[in-house]
């Protein structure tokens, strides 16, 4: 798949093998810790237990309790610890387990981590990485299933990445840790077990650079996180109908690589943006607005957005399935766009 080509481009002499998303994350983190003595990890049950999603397996064995720290359930203090340590030159990786828990520590993320460099006149950097699991699909209900990237992407000073597969999980994590800014790495819970080819050596994926996951001429689908896989599946289905979908994975949603999108739209003339988060006020609105601004004359139809309805994530699997966008809805969206023009 595309990821392999990408991997080869990044590391020509690499040996790639299939690795799961969670293992790829773990490998990238371990390599970044080996690379830089200043990288440490703190979070609830990350050290002794290896993380509730097994994200931190075996790291305590290799790096010991100085660099793998189990903390109390104190998210505000946890992120604050990261901010203070980062301001003093360390490269903390703090884990928030479920993204929903950022509600508890939003001040430390939004008012402290994001603004410190600016408010201090540039005299400090906050090279903090926040890892967390987002997304619905596990029956985890309204307080354990959200995709809150739009909250964070709205805040100047933060960066936000959304790995869509194992390859990007590793590369974006490494780049987040190497980056001198606070970066939130949104891992997707449903993707944790999914695998693809991942190079063995350490590599970073540039933050703020989108990736064209599939080339096509008829519709551009811009998909975030787990929706990339759904969009690729929809593209397979539409290819059988003779429709060629181009799928763009922004990978980083803040900063957002709009140039890659504009270039694509100028060729396909139709755009669909899809994300798991609620449609209202979601990143789809921002992307649509920017495309209209930059490429209005190239559009054969208004930019279409697909996201979740304006509701908390429901528990019942039948409702949750109807709630989260999927390949069928993406395919239907593409058909609608084609009918309009």
């Amino acid at each position: 798949m595309t990821t392999l080509t990408e991997a080869q481009a990044v590391a020509p002499n690499s040996t790639a093998r299939k690795l799961s998303y969670v293992k790829a994350f773990n490998e990238g983190l371990a390599q970044a810790m080996r690379e830089d003595e200043n990288v440490f990890v703190a979070g609830e049950d990350v050290a002794g237990y290896g993380g509730v999603f097994r994200m931190f397996d075996n790291l305590l064995d290799e790096f010991g309790p100085r660099r793998m720290i189990d903390t109390p359930i104190s998210e505000a203090a946890l992120v604050g610890l990261g901010v203070g340590a980062a301001a003093r030159g360390l490269r903390p990786v703090v884990d928030l387990m479920f993204m929903d828990f950022i509600g508890v520590c939003l001040d430390q993320i939004v008012n402290q981590a994001a603004k410190m460099k600016y408010m201090f006149g540039g005299s400090v950097s906050v090279p903090l990485t926040i890892t967390t699991a987002s997304g619905a699909g596990l029956g985890a209900a309204a307080q354990h299933s959200q995709s809150l990237e739009a909250w964070l992407a709205h805040v100047p000073g933060l960066k936000v990445v959304m790995p869509s597969d194992a390859y990007t999980a590793k590369g974006l994590t490494v780049s987040a840790i190497r980056d001198d800014n606070p970066v939130v790495v949104m891992l997707n819970k449903v993707l944790l077990g999914s695998s693809c080819e991942v190079p063995e050596e350490i590599y970073g994926i540039p933050l703020g650079q989108a990736h064209t996951a599939r080339h096509g001429s008829d519709v551009t689908v811009i998909a975030l996180g787990r929706m990339v896989g759904e969009a690729l599946a929809a593209a397979d289905e539409l290819a059988a109908e003779g429709v060629e979908i181009e799928v763009i994975d922004p990978r980083t949603v803040q900063p957002l690589d709009t140039e890659t999108m504009f270039t694509s739209v100028r060729r396909t003339n139709r755009v669909l943006v899809v994300h798991e988060a609620v449609t209202f006020g979601g990143l789809g609105a921002e992307i649509a607005a920017q495309i209209q601004d930059a490429a209005f004359d190239y559009l054969d139809a208004p930019v279409l957005r697909i996201g979740a309805p304006f509701s908390p994530v429901p528990f019942s699997p039948v409702l949750e399935k109807a709630y989260v966008p999927d390949r069928d809805r993406i395919a239907q969206g593409c058909r609608r766009l084609l009918e309009r023009s």
Binding site: A141, A142, Y323
Partner: protein, 338 residues
């Protein structure tokens, strides 16, 4: 200055003498209901019938039963991610609870909430909660409302040892103390926050010591002993109801299953011996042995409670399984009021 009330566990050996047989049977029945509700839910989970997460309460029944038997229907509680026991003991319907675990429209949350969000405002159950510590300030608000309206109901908030490391707990405790509100803080100290033992998440041995920081009296009880818990709860609830302000009860207890699900000791964060030691102090065995010994209840009466409850549970599960799924056309139901 904060003062520690007497340690109720000392009195716990002297059992039912001055508690009526009725209260003992009530405590027993509430515990049996929780135990069977939970073990059956665990089996359903293992059979792959339930979606989502299941944080089982088995082992901690004496706490929910002891506290809830001290409450009136109009008293309010806030619960945790491990909330089934509180809901069952507060009188939430078993049918609605199972239907919720199945994601059916007849469930306590109409299938929208699942295990971690079971509630029933008609029973004063203001919800289990997926966010650790979040229920604490909510109980403070419920107590505030009671006083504001001139009612004499109280609010009880349940939380774990781990939850007392979160800001919401500390802010809620201080708020309750400074506003002198009728709130009872019940810490169910099962020794672990997920997989982290208490010794690794706080330097205190007794969570009750935290109450002192807010000028709140506290008491430590044997959380495997429903009678001891009940005595402490009656005292704290009466105190709160009569305008004496908030108080904290720390119940030392244990969960018999894993943090989540039923698998047990998959990861070596606690030893088999430790689990066995606590299981030897099973709260239901404890009350049954004593009740039979001192003639409060006969074995036949206790067995009858188990049998009746078993039948009720089976019926509730059948009800849940026969219930319809929510209609996807109603996806936006209840996002807003009015």
């Amino acid at each position: 200055m904060a003062q520690r009330a007497s340690t109720a566990s000392e009195e716990s050996a002297q059992v039912s003498k001055d508690l009526s047989a009725q209260v003992i049977k009530d405590l027993h029945e509430r515990m049996v209901r929780i135990r069977l509700f939970e073990t059956e839910a665990g089996k359903l989970m293992e059979a792959g019938k339930l979606p989502g997460f299941l944080h089982l309460y088995v082992g901690q029944e004496a706490v929910a039963a002891g506290v809830m038997a001290a409450l009136r229907d109009d008293d309010q509680i806030t619960s945790t991610h491990r909330g089934h026991g509180h809901a069952v003991a507060k009188g939430v319907g078993l049918r609605e609870m199972y239907a919720e675990l199945y994601g059916r429209v007849t469930g306590a949350c109409l299938g929208r909430g699942g295990s971690m969000h079971i509630n029933d405002v008609t029973r004063g159950m203001l919800g289990a909660n997926g966010i650790v510590g979040a229920g604490v300030p909510i109980a403070v608000g419920a107590a505030f409302a009671a006083r504001y309206k001139g009612e004499d109901s109280v609010a009880v908030t349940f939380f774990g040892d781990g939850a007392t490391n979160i800001g919401a707990f500390h802010e809620g405790a201080n708020m309750a103390a400074i506003l002198d509100l009728p709130v009872v803080f019940v810490c169910e100290n099962n020794g672990y926050a997920e997989f982290t033992p208490q010794s690794k998440h706080m330097l205190l041995t007794d969570v009750a010591d935290r109450a002192a920081a807010y000028g709140m009296p506290s008491v430590i009880v044997d959380g495997m002993d429903a009678v001891a818990v009940h005595r402490a709860a009656v005292e704290a609830v009466e105190r709160a109801r009569s305008g004496g302000g908030p108080m904290m009860i720390e119940a030392k207890t244990y969960r018999f299953f894993d943090h989540q699900g039923v698998k047990g000791l998959r990861h070596p964060y606690r030893s088999d011996d430790e689990v066995a030691e606590w299981k030897a102090r099973d709260p239901i065995d404890l009350i049954e042995t004593r009740a039979v010994a001192d003639g409060t209840a006969t074995r036949a009466e206790l067995d009858d409670t188990w049998q009746r409850t078993r039948d009720e549970i089976a019926e509730a599960i059948a009800y849940a399984e026969a219930s319809p799924l929510p209609d996807t056309a109603d996806l936006l139901l209840n996002v807003y009021s009015g």
